[in-house]
Symmetry: C2
Subunit: 140 residues, 2 copies
């Protein structure tokens, strides 16, 4: 971590909306609204999730747990896909994807499989921003 | 965790070789030898990685870090894919997959994409078993 401005890869920026910044993590929302798909981008030069310091890992999984529980409680999600892949964009970014047995890709993974086109409205993005602010604020 | 025998889903059993048991985790190797692909199956009824107790999460990521470093040091792997998905087999299993920019699926993910047929010999499986025993033994 450093105090200089943290640059997010252009491809991640292009594909997602900014939601919140929390404990040196940028939280973003995949622009495709078909499946609730959040990204956690820690401000680090490390590229592997498991190489992060333990405390940083636990911050991320605690936030991901709250994201997942929110999706299950409010969006009908049945299963969370939690993954750090990085084959295309090496910058570390952790996917927290809410899946449902009736979603268009089920049971396939979201990566590399085209989703029906669907975007979020400005109001929906603002709602996600408020939700993430609340979830992150609830983490002790 | 319980002291009763722990049952692994038949589909996981069918697709992977047993390597080692460590701290209430079953460590297995995907049978396809094209890409080094390990599974960590914690002995738990929870289905979400982020719902595990913190100590259990950190045990798993520490082991995954050692697996990943081994793959990078000895198998030419460039990137680790660390993922808990569970859309097909709900029983919690964490994938630790060693990827290389010259492997047949790169940069696509391994899930849902067919790999060329390739198996491990008995000697290779025994080598993996010895490797995992060493790696797990090295975790303080």
């Amino acid at each position: 971590m450093s105090s200089k401005p943290f640059d997010i890869d252009d491809r991640l920026l292009a594909d997602s909306h900014a939601l919140h910044t929390w404990r040196h993590c940028q939280i973003r929302l995949n622009k495709n609204a078909t499946i609730p798909w959040l990204l956690i981008i820690p401000e680090t030069d490390l590229i592997e999730f498991c190489d992060l310091p333990a405390e940083h890992q636990l911050n991320i999984t605690l936030l991901a747990q709250m994201m997942g529980q929110y999706m299950k409680d409010h969006l009908g999600v049945e299963k969370i896909n939690f993954a750090a892949i990085g084959n295309v964009v090496q910058q570390l970014h952790i996917h927290v994807v809410g899946r449902h047995s009736a979603d268009p890709l089920w049971p396939d993974v979201v990566w590399g499989n085209p989703l029906p086109e669907a975007g979020y409205s400005k109001a929906e993005i603002a709602q996600w921003q408020a939700t993430l602010k609340t979830l992150a604020g609830d983490v002790a």
